[in-house]
């Protein structure tokens, strides 16, 4: 039956070799499997486990911010972020074209982003932040053609009144590398939203709450399959400000188109009722990612809208500083109620001539007239008698060159000049003329408006400065009061009551018959001092500092108008308007 095979012997021989080759191939495979599965098995099993367990962060909703009358100022809103999952994209070019068409952005940019921020096939890449509702609807409708596109919802900070009190409120943003290093890196991770400036930064820990998180088992697309561990996030606490929104708004309208600050505080408690800084900015622009053109505009604006002038701007105080000179002279016995000084309009020292602002002079003046008419000659005289050492001592007493300690980050310190300081900075000796300039608040002295506010507060309270604060209460998410921030003495100024009495009378006279008459309100007992500070940059800065006692409260006000002109004309009327608004006086 069976016929002998006609397959050549050579072929059979070669087939034996093929069989050997097959055995070698299988031997290689078996050895490799042996190595991977039995020798490296444990290690790779661990990797497999890590692969599918992911820690997910649950962000806590950030605390809200209210004004003193519980009116909502800052809240959170949901924002929709358009992202893509690179691993799910079928045709990157087509997708970019479609998505770019809907979002109105260049498809090339989308492709670039996907390539630039690509981490792994399943990690989303953010394409468009805070998408508008009509675009969201279009994306959802066309989901079939947009495979790989996902919409994610994230809470976003919303500043309801845009630029209102922007410098105090500050803004939030994504944590950056420096901040990650600076803060405890364990509590933070890239992408976290933190307070960047203002109260958002100062009270960040309170507002931020505590991140929760969970360990979940995920599949390769990052879809959650099971939760292994869960810790609920703790929402941030709300804060209630000392700021009165209506007064703040009114103050901002007064400084509209101007540069400057208004500080209104109750100096019996340290509460700030209004803290106006102009020009301002819209913190909503910073939320998420600020557009390059917005940042360019804000950061290069020569009017510095981002600067919180009240605590960061440094200026000469001008004649408002005469309050400090007067106190120093009274305390040091250089002058008293009775000493009269004759003002001829000119004051000569060595070979220099200093002038009074009033041509022809004020004639003979005591300290009350000196203050109320803001006579330069009076203060040149007592300043010269005091000398720089003693003046410096009083500047330090009032806290110049130091932080005022308000609950805001990044205060400027300013400079208090002394002979050592001048030697160090300019390698020059202190000339008598320097003291003359300083005694009327010109020359080397530079202060922040808030440091000057300290002076008027100290006079009004007769020596006690309470810790300034913008936050009144901290409220738990369940509505319970968590912490009340009350009056706390920050600094006591060792000056005799009699000195304060004399200066206060001088300040009252300033309003009644002196340079501050424009701030007079007949229903109220306003005291104050104007100032007009020369500055090399241009038009003079206008100043007004004042206070009004009323029952329990003691309202102090500082008005500063940068390049505003004359203190009496530009600053005093603003102070009056603010006080009228505050005390609800109709005109």
């Amino acid at each position: 039956m069976r016929e002998s095979s006609s397959v050549p012997e050579e072929v059979k021989f070669r087939l034996n070799y093929l069989w050997i080759f097959v055995i070698i191939c299988f031997f290689i495979l078996v050895m490799s499997l042996w190595y991977f599965q039995l020798i490296k098995g444990e290690e790779l099993a661990q990797k497999a486990l890590e692969n599918c367990i992911r820690s997910l962060v649950e962000n806590a909703p950030r605390g809200k911010i209210y004004d003193r009358n519980k009116e909502l100022l800052v809240t959170n809103r949901p924002a929709v972020i358009v992202s893509v999952i690179p691993g799910e994209i079928e045709d990157i070019e087509k997708l970019s074209n479609k998505l770019g068409g809907i979002l109105g952005i260049d498809p090339g940019q989308i492709q670039k982003k996907i390539k630039e921020y690509y981490l792994n096939p399943f990690k989303t890449v953010k394409i468009f932040d805070d998408c508008r509702i009509n675009k969201i609807i279009e994306i959802e409708e066309r989901q079939d053609e947009l495979k790989g596109v996902v919409l994610e919802i994230q809470p976003r900070r919303k500043y309801l009144y845009h630029d209102l009190a922007a410098h105090s409120l500050g803004y939030v943003g994504e944590i950056n590398k420096e901040e990650l290093i600076e803060m405890n890196a364990q509590d933070f991770q890239g992408g976290d939203i933190i307070g960047k400036t203002g109260l958002e930064k100062y009270y960040d820990q309170i507002l931020r709450g505590e991140k929760g998180g969970k360990e979940v088992e995920v599949d390769a697309l990052g879809r959650e399959i099971a939760t292994l561990l869960y810790r609920k996030s703790i929402p941030g606490k709300d804060i209630i400000l000392t700021i009165d929104k209506n007064l703040q708004q009114f103050g901002e309208s007064l400084l509209n188109d101007k540069k400057g600050s208004i500080i209104v505080s109750n100096s019996h408690t340290g509460e700030i009722l209004a803290l106006v800084n102009k020009p301002s900015f819209n913190p909503n622009l910073f939320v998420g990612t600020i557009l390059p053109e917005d940042w360019e505009r804000l950061s290069t604006d020569s009017n510095y809208p981002l600067s919180n002038r009240s605590i960061q701007g440094l200026y000469s105080p001008g004649s408002t500083f005469k309050v400090v000179t007067a106190i120093a002279a009274l305390e040091e016995g250089i002058t008293d109620e009775k000493r009269k000084i004759y003002c001829s309009g000119k004051f000569k020292i060595v070979d220099q001539v200093f002038k009074c602002w009033k041509e022809g002079g004020h004639g003979s003046l005591d300290i009350y007239g000196g203050i109320s008419h803001s006579c330069n000659i009076y203060f040149y005289t007592i300043g010269k008698d005091l000398g720089i050492e003693k003046l410096n001592k009083y500047m330090q007493k009032f806290g110049f060159g130091e932080k005022v300690g308000i609950d805001l980050p990044t205060e400027s310190l300013g400079t208090i000049p002394s002979s050592e300081w001048k030697q160090r900075e300019f390698h020059e000796i202190w000339y008598p003329g320097d003291t003359i300039n300083l005694s009327i608040g010109q020359g080397f002295l530079s202060i922040t408006p808030f440091q000057l506010h300290n002076v008027i507060s100290a006079v009004a309270t007769e020596g006690i400065i309470y810790k300034y604060h913008l936050v009144k209460e901290i409220v738990s998410p369940d509505g319970k009061l968590d912490k009340e921030i009350g009056a706390e003495i920050y600094r006591e100024i060792d000056v005799s009551p009699n000195t304060f009495k004399i200066v206060k009378e001088g300040l009252r006279e300033t309003i009644l018959k002196g340079t501050g008459w424009r701030a007079n309100i007949k229903e109220l007992e306003v005291s104050g001092k104007t100032g007009t500070a020369q500055n090399p940059q241009g038009e003079t800065h206008a100043w007004f500092i004042g206070y009004v006692p009323l029952g329990e409260s003691l309202i102090c006000i500082t008005v500063f108008v940068e390049n505003g002109g004359d203190g009496s004309e530009a600053a005093a009327p603003i102070a009056r308007a603010m006080l009228e608004k505050l005390f609800n006086i109709q005109r």
Partner: protein, 368 residues
């Protein structure tokens, strides 16, 4: 007919046939495990059902082949060759693009992969050609002619582009030439010429193919990009250990960390869920098929049958070795499926057709 059936059942290689049937069931179980979580068509059995359909069609083809004397190959080998060329040209002009390559031709509701058909056509054509021209192959010029025929196939699939399949054609040719008994020094000459021309070939490789080769050399260059498949696959196989994590228990495969885990990377699922014993069992089944294949080639009635069987063995061996090697990262990711396990219609049918050819050669070693 009755006589034929009797002979058929008497002479058929049951070892081979049963091994293939076991392998098919093994494949279905692994396929179910790897696809039950993907709900294509809202059905966990979607892929399994379709695969069963391919198997049934494949076994139908296999049975049909048993009734045809393989000597018909002498008549139709040229026809098969030209059909393959026509289909490969068609796919370039009107094929469907999947994963950046045109490989499929739509036929009704199904998609047909001409490059798979071409593998079988090539085996048939080369078997006939080498059988008829065995003596002339001692001349180097004649020895080069089959390279020209095969080269045309390689060129056409390279244009799709499909690097893996062109390597399969080359492997079939080389193994068949070796078996037919060409001078070893001829093969060595071709081998070293090819080796030295790699730098020139490199220019013609698509960017993604170059990347694959670079990533094969070091997959950690881009662990989450191009090297992702291989790394995930290695993790899956390794984490299986001795006994595996049990069917449906693979973390990597059940959570779909393995891309293409039901097609090119199905071996990783076997490795993870069934462990070293599971993979060893699988390799054992393959070894039996190849052993029977070579045995059939040795005991064939004539050179033509021997060459047909050798071609089938070459096809299967190359796919098995390259696919498993790729899953473990010891060979570059060329995108070749694993016989009887990987999901795919044309491939499953062509696997069973090869078995049909082997069984046919086996049956006809005795005169009917």
């Amino acid at each position: 007919m009755k006589r034929n059936l009797g002979r058929l059942s008497e002479n058929i290689d049951y070892t081979l046939l049963i091994t293939v049937v076991i392998l098919c069931f093994y494949g279905l179980i692994v396929l179910y495990s790897s696809t039950r979580m993907t709900t294509a068509g809202g059905d966990g059995y979607y892929f399994v059902k379709r695969q069963i359909l391919w198997m049934l069609s494949g076994f139908t083809f296999l049975t049909m082949i048993l009734f045809i004397d393989y000597h018909y190959v002498e008549k139709y080998s040229k026809f098969a060759y030209f059909m393959a060329i026509i289909l490969l040209v068609m796919v370039i002009f009107s094929g469907k693009t999947i994963y950046g390559a045109r490989r499929w031709l739509p036929i009704g509701p199904f998609e047909f992969q001409p490059s798979e058909f071409a593998k079988i056509a090539l085996i048939i054509f080369l078997a006939d050609f080498l059988n008829k021209n065995r003596e002339k192959l001692d001349y180097f010029f004649y020895f080069l002619i089959p390279f020209v025929y095969t080269g045309l196939f390689i060129l056409l699939v390279f244009m799709q582009p499909d690097l893996g399949t062109s390597l399969v054609y080359m492997a079939i040719l080389v193994i068949m030439l070796f078996v037919v008994g060409v001078k070893i020094k001829f093969l060595a000459t071709v081998f070293f010429t090819a080796l030295s021309s790699i730098p020139i070939l490199w220019i013609f490789l698509k960017e993604y193919q170059k990347r694959r080769i670079i990533l094969f050399i070091n997959p950690n260059i881009d662990p989450l990009g191009g090297g992702y498949n291989v790394i995930q696959s290695k993790i899956a196989i390794g984490s299986g250990g001795l006994l595996g994590k049990g069917l449906f228990g693979g973390l990597q495969s059940q959570l779909h960390f393995l891309p293409a885990q039901h097609t090119d990377f199905i071996f990783s699922v076997v490795g993870e869920e069934l462990g070293f014993l599971g993979t060893l069992f699988l390799l054992g089944l393959y070894a039996i098929i190849l052993w029977r294949g070579i045995k059939i080639a040795r005991e064939a009635k004539d050179l033509l049958g021997s060459l047909l069987a050798s071609g089938a063995v070459a096809f299967l061996l190359f796919h098995i070795f390259v696919n498993i090697g790729m899953a473990m990262g010891i060979l570059p990711a060329t995108g070749l499926p694993l016989p009887f396990l990987s999901y795919g219609g044309t491939f499953m049918i062509s696997n069973l057709v090869l078995i049909g050819i082997l069984l046919n050669v086996e049956i006809h070693k005795v005169k009917w």
